[in-house]
Amino acid sequence: MKKEEMRDVELIIGKILRIGVVVSAIVIILGIVLYFVNGGGGYSDGEWPQRFGVMFQGVAQGKSYAVIMLGIFLLILTPVLRVVVSIYAFAKERDVLYVYITTAVLIILIFAMVFGYHG
């Protein structure tokens, strides 16, 4: 693969990554603003959502800590997004070897993340 084609791959990944980062930053900032507007996190002391159900319920109710946690979770997903887009970008450039390599990284990563949810 030529140098120029690699540039295209990098630029696609960069653009999508930027969207992911900006969205998660906006959600976190929104959550921090809510903290000051509501005068607290929305949960009793020493508590905050740690499971999806509680988190989404809290987001719907406009609870600050739930919104911040959602933003943090979106941020955790940005490296995954980067790997997914890389597979697409390598495939677009017909770089079969790196489609395999990057897919292997994605499978290992998802395995580890699911392991983290259940472990």
């Binding site: 960069g14 933003g71 941020l75």
Partner: protein, 281 residues
């Protein structure tokens, strides 16, 4: 509470700038500040620092991709080694003596410090390896980058790919077993073992450390280590800092980056050796 949120943003900003320049996660900066200076429980400090690693990585990678500073193939290829190592580490916790591992990796960092000082002292300066290597050709790893400090395009190759791969696996294993970041080991694997230039090594490490951290971040997210009032403002500071750091790194001379890197790995090495012998700070 409210003022401490602002303080977290400032700490994040500082860690993000440094992390993006050096290709390290900043956990070794954030964890001591949160535990020693602010008296936080180590559990929340680790949770906050893993989020900072991801924020540094994603924030810096946007700029490094745009400016063609990182090597995407090297990143993806070596990422296999690190993630497999990290999972094995997480599964094997308890099988190895952590004392032995801390001392082993600590001494490795001290040895790397010595190597880097020697490189700094060398009259040849920052030499770029451009020779040919079978594995590098097969995996098409050779690349080039534009050095804004020296105002020239630098074509580079590398060597000793299996050595770098094994080092990355060991770095992943250490991060899984000891719960430490492995950014410094990643930079050393590329710079010292594979002879990649320091700037793309740091940029590529930035990209990789986010993927490695994401693999373990879900554990911390769901076990209650991540406190929104700490990790939230910290992440915002780090994102801003990493964006600045990624631009700053490109105009710094490689030698200057190495001069910042040396005391940090020396500090980390000493910290790890001492921790192995039961002294933590």
């Amino acid at each position: 509470m409210d003022t401490s949120m602002l303080l977290f943003v400032v700490i994040g900003l500082f860690a993000g700038v440094l992390g993006a320049i050096l290709g390290i996660g900043g956990g070794m900066i954030i964890t001591p500040i949160l535990t020693i200076m602010m008296g936080l429980d180590i559990k929340y400090a680790i949770g906050a620092s893993i989020i900072s690693v991801i924020a540094t990585s994603s924030g810096a990678t946007i700029a490094y991709l745009k400016d063609d500073m990182l090597n995407l193939r090297v990143a993806m290829f070596l990422e296999i080694a690190t993630t497999v190592g990290a999972i094995m580490g997480a599964l094997l916790v308890g099988l190895f003596s952590s004392t032995f591992l801390y001392v082993l990796f600590g001494f490795f960092l001290l040895y790397s410090t010595y190597n880097m000082i020697r490189k700094l002292m060398s009259k040849k300066g920052e030499t770029v390896f451009t020779g040919s290597d079978k594995a590098v050709e097969k995996l098409r790893l050779a690349d080039s980058y534009y050095d804004k400090a020296e105002k020239k395009q630098v074509d580079y190759s590398m060597k000793n790919v299996p050595g770098g791969f094994i080092m990355m696996w060991a770095a992943g294993l250490a991060s899984g077993l000891l719960g430490i970041g492995s950014g410094a080991f990643k930079v050393i694997a590329m710079d010292t073992i594979m002879k990649m230039p320091l700037k793309p090594s740091s940029a590529t490490s930035n990209l990789m450390m986010g993927v490695t951290a994401a693999a373990s971040a879900t554990v911390y997210f769901f076990n209650g280590s991540i406190r929104p009032d700490i990790a939230g403002p910290l992440a915002i500071g780090v994102l801003a800092g990493a964006t600045i750091g990624a631009r700053l790194m490109q105009v710094l001379k490689p030698k200057v980056i190495r001069m910042i890197f040396v005391p940090i790995i020396l500090y980390m090495g000493v910290q790890m050796v001492l921790k192995g012998f039961g002294v933590s700070f």
